[in-house]
Symmetry: D3
Subunit: 329 residues, 6 copies
Amino acid sequence: MTAAEQESPGRPATRVDLVTFGETMARLENPVVGPMRHARSLDLGIGGAESNTAIGLRRLGATAAWFGRVGDDEFGRLITTALAGEGVRIDHAVVDASAPTALLFKERRSGTLTRVQYYRTGSAGSRLDPADVPHALIRSARVLHVTGITAAISPTARAALDDAVETARDAGVPVSLDLNYRSALWSPDEAGEALRDLVKRADLVFATEAEARLVVAADDPAGLATGLAALGPRDVLVKRGAAGVVASCAGTLHVQPAHRVPVIDPVGAGDAFAAGYLAEFVRGRPVAERLATATAAGAYAVTVRGDWEGLPSRRDLELLKSTEDTVTR
Amino acid sequence: MTAAEQESPGRPATRVDLVTFGETMARLENPVVGPMRHARSLDLGIGGAESNTAIGLRRLGATAAWFGRVGDDEFGRLITTALAGEGVRIDHAVVDASAPTALLFKERRSGTLTRVQYYRTGSAGSRLDPADVPHALIRSARVLHVTGITAAISPTARAALDDAVETARDAGVPVSLDLNYRSALWSPDEAGEALRDLVKRADLVFATEAEARLVVAADDPAGLATGLAALGPRDVLVKRGAAGVVASCAGTLHVQPAHRVPVIDPVGAGDAFAAGYLAEFVRGRPVAERLATATAAGAYAVTVRGDWEGLPSRRDLELLKSTEDTVTR
Amino acid sequence: MTAAEQESPGRPATRVDLVTFGETMARLENPVVGPMRHARSLDLGIGGAESNTAIGLRRLGATAAWFGRVGDDEFGRLITTALAGEGVRIDHAVVDASAPTALLFKERRSGTLTRVQYYRTGSAGSRLDPADVPHALIRSARVLHVTGITAAISPTARAALDDAVETARDAGVPVSLDLNYRSALWSPDEAGEALRDLVKRADLVFATEAEARLVVAADDPAGLATGLAALGPRDVLVKRGAAGVVASCAGTLHVQPAHRVPVIDPVGAGDAFAAGYLAEFVRGRPVAERLATATAAGAYAVTVRGDWEGLPSRRDLELLKSTEDTVTR
Amino acid sequence: MTAAEQESPGRPATRVDLVTFGETMARLENPVVGPMRHARSLDLGIGGAESNTAIGLRRLGATAAWFGRVGDDEFGRLITTALAGEGVRIDHAVVDASAPTALLFKERRSGTLTRVQYYRTGSAGSRLDPADVPHALIRSARVLHVTGITAAISPTARAALDDAVETARDAGVPVSLDLNYRSALWSPDEAGEALRDLVKRADLVFATEAEARLVVAADDPAGLATGLAALGPRDVLVKRGAAGVVASCAGTLHVQPAHRVPVIDPVGAGDAFAAGYLAEFVRGRPVAERLATATAAGAYAVTVRGDWEGLPSRRDLELLKSTEDTVTR
Amino acid sequence: MTAAEQESPGRPATRVDLVTFGETMARLENPVVGPMRHARSLDLGIGGAESNTAIGLRRLGATAAWFGRVGDDEFGRLITTALAGEGVRIDHAVVDASAPTALLFKERRSGTLTRVQYYRTGSAGSRLDPADVPHALIRSARVLHVTGITAAISPTARAALDDAVETARDAGVPVSLDLNYRSALWSPDEAGEALRDLVKRADLVFATEAEARLVVAADDPAGLATGLAALGPRDVLVKRGAAGVVASCAGTLHVQPAHRVPVIDPVGAGDAFAAGYLAEFVRGRPVAERLATATAAGAYAVTVRGDWEGLPSRRDLELLKSTEDTVTR
Amino acid sequence: MTAAEQESPGRPATRVDLVTFGETMARLENPVVGPMRHARSLDLGIGGAESNTAIGLRRLGATAAWFGRVGDDEFGRLITTALAGEGVRIDHAVVDASAPTALLFKERRSGTLTRVQYYRTGSAGSRLDPADVPHALIRSARVLHVTGITAAISPTARAALDDAVETARDAGVPVSLDLNYRSALWSPDEAGEALRDLVKRADLVFATEAEARLVVAADDPAGLATGLAALGPRDVLVKRGAAGVVASCAGTLHVQPAHRVPVIDPVGAGDAFAAGYLAEFVRGRPVAERLATATAAGAYAVTVRGDWEGLPSRRDLELLKSTEDTVTR
């Protein structure tokens, strides 16, 4: 086995299973729970919904490419280094020397509450432009994965999003959409309209219950899933945290419970879920397997601090079934 | 500019300037100077003479590929992640599930003394085999860079070294050799014989004065450089630490002083020097420029803890000329 | 809004809602659970029951002043810096050059057990003297808050306590008393007598069940609350940890359950409870609101390491009602 | 009281309650839960089943000696320093200059799962030899404690194990055996045969249910205990984690529940259990007391990170009965 | 002595020696020298030229007030907490809920080079407005201290600067100006014009040689000092780092050498110098004493990491004269 | 070689080369240079002039015993654990349950200045009593080592000092005295008288120039050495830091230069010097060798943080002669 064949290689894949794009940020968070101003130091990493999902696919053996803009600064270099290190193709990522890389501060305020603050106004990532979209790459992918965040960060980014989605549709590449509503970026009304338009053009849709309600009205998760599916997508996944997931896939309802694990950091669970689902989707696996891997990936993500660091490899998925508390590798 | 065009991209280069190989290890060192047993924790990183040099070239804008074996463990994954993150191609690196990744402990015993201990007996890296050598890759390179360490770690590794060198020579690819004598691996006598044989087949040779004396006898650095050059290599670089370098290049002697910088960690200076020299060599730059970049890279490497973390980008080289102590980027 | 109007300003208030005093100590604790001798470093902060409560009031928008003695050393400066930083008025704090600042070691021995060791014999704080009592300040306050600890640390401190209490009573300023029994400082018998005398002169009394039993005999929390109230105080709060609180306020019994939160550090919960209660008391809010804020403040305090660092602002109190696990500020 | 009379003295005991031996390793683990390659530093300590148990006896007031081989390196010195510091006699420990000290990496992969990797092939500890066995010391002990690990690490170590056991039996010294099966060292079949042979020669046997099944077949813990006892040992302890222990002691079955404590690190619980049991055994205490101390010691061990650091003193055992969450010492 | 009378009190002074204002930022820097992207965590503090100087005066026993805008976020609270803790009056500081607090990243790139990156575009601090200027406070001060940075961050900030300077001049309060050129904020030409205008209205001027050349042309430091003084200021201080200072004070030239100290962090030396000079100026001390305290304060500042943390108290100034390397306090 | 035969064994020696006693303290210091109140955590260790010297002898292969009192707390256990771990015999150390272990705070105020604060009033160590003196142990030693500190900490400690010295003299055991003047404990006049009396009864005396002047008057180091020797001691060592040492040994003057090393922490250099000298003295080595080892040990001590952690083994002494900056062990 070459290093490139295991879960975190760096080898350039000739063909890419998943293409995604968006804004990835430097992430700074307090190492000890409490008000951030009492921290003497902040841990440094990276985070971004789309690149988290790309890493998730790589860990599970699929290939992935990410594009977007970063600043010509240490934080931009941190992002490209981390993604390349995880084996995500970044050959279409752009270094924009005229704007800084965006920042994401995570304040772990208590064991169960995280507060988030962005420094992303005018950032390099929000300057994403249709000219940055690599059409050939998208056309060759097994799936294009986008999120609602990109529609919210700037008009040029939304134009790039439209361009990418249309490119995929024209080429018959399935479009995966995670609604990912961020209240700091737009209002529920603005978001509702834009997301509804995106859902109509998507083949797979991921949403929390609250996000689903921005687009459709329904009393319960099953109603939300059905309502979204009625807009066009073949697969709709309504995520309910510890309560599991309700899915409408090719017209059939599925209910999948969540794993019971000690939650250390809930951020990134949604991206992990999408990664697990899509990792099986690109391999052509059936719905039951997609849901199983998606919930397992979500479970792994929340047991480790960091948005993506705890994402599982195929071997890690085996461990979740173990009853032992100590394993010799 | 795309991310791949700046100093630490992840984009797969279609053609590779430098190919190198050898054993890269997980590196553990005490964060505070003193006996290692008084440390409560050890800092974790990676190190390996050849991969350090490959990273050095990437930072300076050249492309590089590294191959070798790592274990199927977290340390192996750390190595492939770090190298891919720095944009070094690792598609020919091998994961050997039957042996662990080697370890390198660096004990910073005082401000001026470092003690090194290896756990590399029977390691994955020492199981490198001629079957691992990627002939096409080597044939397409602008230079093949090897070190004496590979000749010392195992018979199969030495066979792989011979195979790689012959492949390069057959294809007209220049061979660069850093003698890199390690007393823990073999005796001066064993080393002397093997290194002499390698020098004869090399086009560029890097050596400290002590290493040069393993191969040739001479009274002074100039004599050592001339003596080594007489064995065949076009360029011979005799490194003298703070005293600079004496070189014999295409029959002409050059003397280059070192930069005066505060030394924090001397480990890695030689690899940085080679990287600086080769980064200009592959661009076809004249000897004066090669020597200037080599000494600047060496100066950067010693001002930062870590074997390769402090290696400079082209922009960093500019800073060395600055008289300011604070720079706004 | 000026900085002074938000929850942690530094602006000198012209009038002070709460005046308190006592011994505040430098606090050192092991960052990782286990026997303290295995710690390689100890975290440094400050702690003192009275100053914790003063900070609690500031966070909730009230004004507060603290006085007491600290040594002319780095620990004394740490205390005055931290209190002034939190906006607690310290203009009557005294620097006593003839004695050191007291120390408090907190050994987190297991997830549920904390051991405490003091270095406070002969400390600057225990040299508090009636001459240090600022009569005008006390007379202008909305409430004077004292604890039983001050009665125990030295005869001069007890004399100062008596002086302050009598000054408040003469001026019609309500006296708040937290029994705060410390077994390292005096015996149950000594404490019982002294505390009984203080309860008789107080308007508000805070006590755990065990502390209440030092003063009155009763079978259950309600009996303890009623028994203490019979000695004179208008409001008596009997704290029962996770079991909530039983209060006798103006002759009426109230029962308030505690919030269910993950406990990280139980130290400081009582001081937070008193702060929450008094923050509403000085605003003239009704009993139900006082109890609600008191239990919410107690809940916040235990979710964060440190005696006071986790005390909530008004905005934080809102978060306790949130069902989200991630909030964008 | 002299320092030597309290729980962690350094005074050489004239007579030793427990003698044990085996391989003790330097232990490196990630401080924050997650994949080890994401750690920037690893915490350094020591660990070894037999020396953990020796420390456990010292903490509980008994005397103990450990022997085995360590390398002539910082890790060997760390081991001898730590054991001597805990008051374990190491006068028969051997420094073997021709091999390195073994390493143990503990990867805390999630809140409930630990992965272990060894670097112990060819280690100093595995070179233990019958010539290292101190016969006089063993003959003077109250109990000899061995584990199945020693039978697995090398043929010479197994020969030393046989020699020690026979020496004890000849001298009428009871032999205590903890099966301690390690899958990385041998197969279940190899282990089953060797362990069965050891059980027959032991007086006290400690085993998990899974380990017991390597030697005897039975449906339930009681059957396993009875089955092992039928092979010869007077006391057999079948450990069931949070489900407590089932014991067959002198022909009588005992069932002891476990304490309910928050588990931080399960590694070392078995060694602590053996230490608690043997600490009472060497004092001639009855079975009920042995089981009580054993389960209490096991409870303490899991509440603290580290294999032995959290082992309790006699005073700590008292704390387990406390209902307070803060104690002043 | 009360706490308010020593060097870091929190007591509100009835009259303020120095009033200053500007933008203070949260400061994040890598704890270990090297490229910032290799840091796993960044140390958190605050920094701002004007507030650094205010703290410097407080440490030396003078009183000081600072105003400016901070965001309604943890970084804003960190700034107000730190300044209030150091005894700087912040009652006119403004919390601006519509913009974030600015950030300052310090990358310690090598032992002698620091790179700085700002996130201050659109920050709360740059929204400073003439309406924020507290005229009464300025009129009551002994000196108003401003820097050229405020002229550069925004038009409203420059208007506030003009308003404050005119208010001081009208009231006969001396104006102190530190040129503090920041190349990231404006061009040399823009700065030259604006600073020249400010110099004309100032009574005391602090400048490096390079900064002085933005305003006047001269061959040497003495020429620069004389040239600036010719524009109007009574005292002009031209700072030359390790080469000391050349001053033109009331028409007389002074040359003061620098102290020889090991430099750990050069940032903040200029602010410390100004603080030392002004601390003596407000006490009416002669020029020689002002220069002596200024150079001593500058020396202290560079021996400690952080922009202001190492600023000396009066007692610390005594230590600089000590020949001992260990002092018992 | 057994572990007990190398430099840090734990084996109880049957005979002890050096016996010493005094007060050993828990040591807390700021990890980053600057005012201690800005530290977020303090590093924890132990320190004491006499026990430092005892450890120094152990590292150099001699045997040593220390006695004194520690509190029945974690700091006392830290001290006994650390000393026993270093192989120092502590069987006559006493745990005094009625007083706390003393504390020593080291504030690294700048690169060249350390401030020290004690919490030792009423400490366990100062309660040392003649009844604690182990007469048989002293009579069997090759040298008794005492310091002037013990004469200063309490009347009972001084009585114990007298008892120990007389016991040694009666038994013909040489008495070694390090003057070790501490200004926090007594005045120069008090100290001068007491130390003069001790010098008269000592065989070997260690003093800095300033300490020597407390006892005798002389113009230069040679005069001081001669003057002290005239009071009785055979060997007098006058230490001059980087200027080396001047000694009067058996009537002959010796001058020994110091090694040139980068100084990280000057504390402990004197104890290391005494250890080096005495390690050769107990082996009967000549003066030149004693001085060489003494200065080498002093050089090692200052290159590492901590009072004793950097003390050299015999092997380390060899390294001081090395010209390499990297050594493979």
